[in-house]
Each structure stands twice: as C-alpha cells, then as structure tokens.
Amino acid sequence: MLNIPTWKRVVIWALCVLGLLLAMPNAFYSRVEGHNDAVKAIELAGETPDRLSAKAAWPEWLPSGLVNLGLDLRGGAHLLAEVQVEDVYAERMDALWPEMRDALREVRASIGTIRRQDSDAPDELRVRISRPEGMETALVTVRALARPITTLTGVGSSDIEVRGEGDEVVITLSEAERAATDSRTLQQSLEIVRRRVDEVGTREPTILRQGNDRILIQVPGIGSADELKSLIGTTARLTFHPVVGRADSADQPAGPNNFILPDMTDTGVFYILEKTAVVSGEELTDAQPAFDQNGRPSVTFRFNPTGARKFGQYTAENVGSPFAIMLDDEVISAPVIQEAIPGGSGQITGNFTIEESTELAVLLRAGALPAELVFLEERTIGPELGADSIEAGKIASLVAFSAVLVFMALSYGWFGILANIALLINVGLIFGLLSAIGATLTLPGIAGIVLTIGMAVDANVLVFERIREELKTARGPARAIELGYEKALSAILDANITTFITATILFMLGAGPVRGFAVTLGLGILTSVFTAIFVTRIMIVMWMERRRPRTLEV
C-alpha cells in the first residue's frame, strides 16, 4: 500500500503540473486577456504595433485559456427571447396562394370562380369556389400541390393538409411541416441574432438555443439590456408592396387580400396595400447608409438577380402608380414609380437620423428575423457591480482559504500542512479544469469554490482521523497510515459520489448562475477526491520513505 510504483507517481505529479499550468493564465488575467484579444484581432484585421505588443505580453507557448467571467462578475446584458414561430405560418400560406390560384384557375370549368377568404386562424388558407359540386376536383387539384416532407421525423407525410368545408377549400400546414418550419425558423433566428450581435463586435457573446423556441443571449460589456434588445429585437423585415389606396384610419375596410398600415412619419396617414409583396428583404444583397440628393440620411440597397428581375418587371409594368416600402408593419415611404428600375438597386429615404439609417443598414445586411422575438427575461448588470462582486469574492475566498489552512495546520500538525499543500493544488486544479473546458465563473460559482475549500479538507480529515484511530491499535505508523487510507476510502467515495449526484442534477436543471455553481461544485468534488486520495497520500508516502519515523502523531 505504501509502495506506490514510479509510473503512478509520475502520472499523479504530471496531472498536478498540467492542471496548474492550465490554471496559471488566470493569475495574469488582464495580460492574458489582452494577448488573446490581440491574437484574434490580428487574425481578423492584421497587425498593428499595439496588437503586437499586447500579443507579446504573454508567451505563445504557455496555455492561454481563461476562465470566462459570468455576467454577474463582468457586467453586461442577458436576454431570453421566445421566437414567435407561428408568425411564419401565415407567411407560408400567403406564399402558397399564387401557386394555388393558378392551379385552381385551370380547373375553372368544374369549380367555377375562386376567391380567397379572410381567415381567423393565421395558419389557414380558405378559398371559396362558386360551384360547390366541383369540390372534389378542387381538393384533388390542391392536394396535387402538396410536397412530401424530407425531415427525419416527418417521413411519409406531406406539407399541407387539405379539406373541404361547405363551399370552401381549407388548407392548413401539417403537424410535421409545422415542426420542421419551427425548427427552421429558430435556426434562422439564431443565425441572424448572432450576425447582428457580431456586427456590434463585443467580446464573447453567448447565443444559445434553449428548448424548442427560445434563444438565450448574453453579451458582456454592453450597457443595458435595452440597447441589446433594440439591436436584436427589431424584425427588420423589408418588403415592397403595391399600394391600393390611402386611408384615414386603421379601422377602414381594406378589402380581401389587402391590409392597412400606418405611415412611419406622418401620423394619421394610412395606406391600403396588397398582401402579396413584390419583393422582400430576403432578396437584398447589400445595404449601406448614404445620403440622398437633398442631403438627407438614407439607405441604399441592392437586390440579388432574382429580386432585381422581379423589381424591374414590376416597376416597368406600373409606371405612374405608387408602391410602398414597408419595414416591420410601418410604411417608410410610398413613392410613385417614375420609371422602370432595371438595375436592381435603389434608395430608401424616410425621415431618418444618421444613427437610424446606419442601424437600419446593419439590420438589413444581417437579414430580417423570420419571426418576432418576445423577451421573457432580461437582466442588466452594471460593470461596477460586477467588479465589486469580484473584489468581494476574492477577499472572501482568500480569508476563507487562510482560515482553513491555519485550522488544518493547528489540528493535524505536519499532516495538516501536507493536506494544505494538497488543498492549494486542489484550487489550482479547479481553475485549470475550468479554463480547459472554457467554463464560466459566476458569483455563485465563487461560492462553490469556497464551499469546496471547506469540504475538500473533509476527505483528508476522514483519513487523518482514521489514522489516529488505527495508531491506537496498529503495529507502527506505516501500517496505521495504510489502514487509515484503506478504511476511510469507502466513506470518502460514498460521501463524494452522493454530492456529485446533486451537483449533476443542478447542472442539468439549473440555469445561468446556478449552473455555474454546479460546475464549480462538481469539478471541486473531482479534484478534491483526487488530491485527497492521491496527492496527499503520495506526499505522506514520500515523507515516510525519507524519515522512516518510529512513532507518528497526527
């Protein structure tokens, strides 16, 4: 038992050294952070003297992984957004309509005239046919438009469900298609949120999918959640619609397939627009802030070839009539088409400030959100509060640490000091592991470390107490130490495994700071068991080999 083979000694010490090496960058936090930022910046934007010197501040061959600081320690904004996935259904139905209309017109002989009806449910398309006896033909015709679904879960089903209700054909999305659409919508939203946050260029934003329809966004260093919200919460859906007429209020009847929208700048002015858009923002390839011929801030945009063709064709056919540029349920402007616009580029002039036009250009470039975001949770933590928390956490940890060290040394003498060295290694290992897996340290996480400091000595205490007991009966110190470790082991493992179970459950179910706590607690258990049963033991064994004491006091 007291003969530990050389290879085991090497492995144990090597693990300690590795852990401490990984932890080391955290001791030089700002310097390493500067180095990491510089490396990233050089990769993106090339070398400058400043960046090079920041990069040189930390040697390349040393590990440079750092523990991320959570929002509560660094300050920043946290948002939990729910993507309104249903928004997309209505749009799907609108997009389906032209195709359906054309198909039904071909069988006009048996079904008569067709007319789209307004529907209460947004994800329903209702078409009235004037000859109900032709319903069967209509249903067959519409069903022929259904496409099979290609996702894994939806195999065998098609994207739409069609049924007849009196003289109306009702088309809805199938369950499988909804699921597929939802997942696509969330994926797109995630991507667009990421692009928008990246455009602002802050450090290490966290953008994560949560569940089926939620996105978690954490951006350190941003002033407030509001700022972040206005950046990512705007749908920024740009569409171009034919204008049917003007109106004085939003309540006026718009007629089927039309809708009424307010003007962005002139209150009291409303436009009646056709539901089906001519071109939409998805077909933009670029948008830049600019000034129009009168020197007012504006945004120039360019369409991709398909968009350009549609736009060119529409403007050619409708010279002299107005069309509306619409952004998120408001009409930016409704100019009259002076001439055909074939080049696929144009300029939006509204009543913008320079900031607004810049932001609009950013939003248009990053793309529109496919659906609205509703914010369920938002938190802003000021950087000073974070700095205070770090400071308090640091002091508290140091005091806690010293108290435990002194207490252990007083209680167990030389063995206590060995345990203290192991405890120092233990804390180093926790930080090493945290850096290696890129975990985030939160305030509760610091509490987890402090708690681990308190509890890490437990395994050593168990062993030492046991050695004391064995010293009373056993034949000499070596045997007592051997028995002490042997007999304390099951208690150590049982106790730590049960705590580890709770840490795991916390990690699985917890959110945000609680999760940070679970991570440090769980890692702390692993490292403390390791240091207690391997590191302390190896130190005791080495000491025994050198001194060969005849008696032992623990």
């Binding site: 038992m1 144990i12 939990l80 729910e82 959640a225 509001d226 919200k229 509703v374 914010f375 369920l376 949770e377 938002e378 938190r379 933590i381 000021g382 509060l385 928390s389 308090a392 508290a396 005091v399 806690a400 108290a403 435990v404 207490f407 209680s411 167990y412 305030l443 509760p444 610091i446 509490a447 402090v450 708690l451 400091i453 308190g454 509890m455 000595v457 437990d458 205490v461 107490e465 004391r468 007999k487 082991l489 099951s490 493992l493 106790a495 049960t498 179970i501 709770t502 840490a503 459950i505 916390l506 179910l509 917890g510 700071p513 609680v514 706590f517 607690l521 033991r537 190896i538 006091e553």
Partner: protein
C-alpha cells in the same frame, strides 16, 4: 500540541435524549411548514416574475420618499428595501426596488423602467442603477417547476444510491434527514422573510449534498461496526459509530463553516442570502445526520448479518481502489 475540538475518546450517549431531540426536530418541522403556509416565502422575481432594480446613491436611502415617488406610476405591488453591507462606504447607499409583473407583459417594458428611473432621479439626482433584472411570468412559472423537480430528483437519486450501497433502512434514514434539513431551511426563509430566489435552490441542493455527506460517513461507520460487532444492541453500535466519527463531523463542519462565514461577511450583499442558507443548512445538516438519520435507522431496525460472503459485497465495491 494539537488543537482538539473533540476529545479523542468519547462515549457520549446520543440516544439518551432521543425523545427530546427527535421531538424537537418534529416540532421544528411542523413549525416550518406552518410558517411556510402562514407567512409564505418572500419569493424573488425568479419565481414570481417582475422586476428588481438596484439603486445606488451617495445620499442616504429614503424608503418613504422612494415609495411616494413610485406610487404615482401605479405599478401595483412595489417593495423597496435598503441593502446594508459592511463593504459599502458612507457615500454608497444601496436599495433594492421590486416591481410586480405587469399584467399582459412578458417582461417589463423599457418605458416602465425609464419611468421608474426618472421618478427616482427626481428625488435624488445622484442615483444610479447598477443592475436591472426582469423576469416574465412565463419563465418564472417554469423556474418554479424546474426547482421543485431538481430538489425532488436529487432526493430520489440519493435515495436510490444509498439503497444500492447500503440497505433501504439507511436510505430512508438519510432521506428523512435531508427532508428535515430542506424543510427547516425553508422555515427559516419564511420566518425571516429572506428573499428566496433561484440561487437559494442551489443552496438547498448543496445542503442536501452536504448533509448527505455527513450522514453517509456515519452510516459507513455503522456498516463497518455492524460487521465487527454482531452481538451488541443496534443502539449501542449506532452510538459507538457516531462517537467514533464525531471528531471528523465537527472538524469538517467547522472548516466549511469557517469558509462560509468568510463569504458571509466579506462576499458582498448579492450572495449573502445564498450563503446564509448554506450556513444554516450545514448547522441543521450536521445535527440531522447525528440525531435524525440515526434515530430513523434505530426505529426501522436493520439487518444484522453483514458477513461478507452472503451479501453481494455491499459497501465493499471500492475496497480495492488503490493509489
């Protein structure tokens, strides 16, 4: 010279006053449950939705003036409390303003927050807002469910593990001790109306883990002693085991408490509630592993034949783990 908190040989009878200690535990639990229902918990926004705004100012906090300023905004239930911390200087005065979830809104709108900020700035121009947190009712509902699930799951997992490694009587004893600790902690939170938020759930689960740690160490010794002493009464074996592990129990509780007290005093006000829950939990947890878990074990009785051959080797699985 060693610091010894517990004499190296003790033969204290922990069951002498079993009726009193067990009765006291029962009374405390009933009282906690009663407090929970009568006073309720002071739930933070994590669990009931709403907004908390932390204010900081060089002027002393005037809760009454704050309240009057906000009353005009008609925000429903608004609670304002001053925050104290030894770390704050004389020109750092912190308060916490909590606004209930506004009907029909998932999270409080920027307009509401701007209105609150403006109202407070009117009475104290130097005021600033280091943190603003807002949780919608949808999320808070879910957080409540997850929290309850987390605690229940943790208890179930532990019950299962101990049953696997020991015997079912041990598992029941351990879980009874845990339930005791959790209930008493909730009782204290109800009694002192300390803010109960998500972090407290983490603290509760840590208490579960810690108390378990203690209980398992005692039980491990009980198991060992049951193998060693086949004849003496169970009560005697239990008492012996508690005495033998007493020194360790006290040592570990003390080191942990030392660390936590440092955090409580110096760790800042943000996590003080969290640390308080832990300190209380460790006190109760240490008590319960000695007085509650063992008492339950004594009541349930336990298999006496622990000879290694006939038993699947419960508790010996790790015996050959070696450095």
């Amino acid at each position: 010279m060693r610091l010894k908190l517990v004499p190296s040989e003790t033969d204290w009878n922990f069951f002498a006053a079993a009726r009193v200690t067990f009765g006291a535990s029962l009374v405390a639990m009933v009282l906690s449950v009663a407090l929970f229902f009568v006073m309720g918990l002071n739930f933070g926004i994590d669990f009931r939705g709403g907004t908390t705004i932390r204010t900081e100012s060089i002027r002393p906090v005037d809760v009454g003036a704050y309240r009057n300023a906000l009353a005009a905004l008609d925000l429903g239930d608004v609670s304002i409390s001053e925050v104290f911390d030894p770390g704050f200087g004389p020109d750092k005065n912190v308060a916490q303003v909590r606004i209930q979830a506004q009907t029909g809104e998932e999270s409080v709108t920027p307009e509401t927050i701007a209105a609150v900020a403006a109202a407070l700035q009117q009475i104290d121009p130097s005021i600033s807002f280091p943190s603003i947190e807002s949780v919608g009712p949808k999320v808070s509902g879910e957080l409540v469910r997850t929290a309850i699930m987390a605690v229940t799951l943790a208890l179930a997992a532990v019950l299962f593990y101990i049953w696997l490694r020991f015997e079912w009587q041990f598992a029941l004893g351990a879980v009874a001790a845990l339930v005791h600790d959790v209930i008493l902690t909730i009782g204290v939170f109800a009694a002192f109306q300390i803010r109960f938020d998500l972090a407290i759930i983490a603290a509760l689960l840590t208490i579960v883990g810690y108390s378990l740690n203690d209980t398992v160490v005692v039980f491990d010794r009980v198991r060992e002693n049951l193998r060693k002493y086949k004849k003496p009464a169970l009560k005697k074996v239990l008492n012996l085991s508690i005495n033998e592990t007493l020194s360790r129990t006290v040592m570990t509780s003390l080191t942990t408490l030392l660390a936590l007290f440092a955090l409580f005093v110096l760790g800042g006000d943000v996590i003080r509630g969290f640390v308080f829950a832990m300190i209380w939990g460790i006190l109760v947890g240490t008590y319960s592993s000695v007085f509650v878990a063992s008492n339950i074990l004594l009541m349930l009785g336990v298999k006496r034949d622990w000879s290694k051959n006939d038993d699947g080797g419960a508790g010996t699985q790790f015996a050959n783990v070696d450095a």
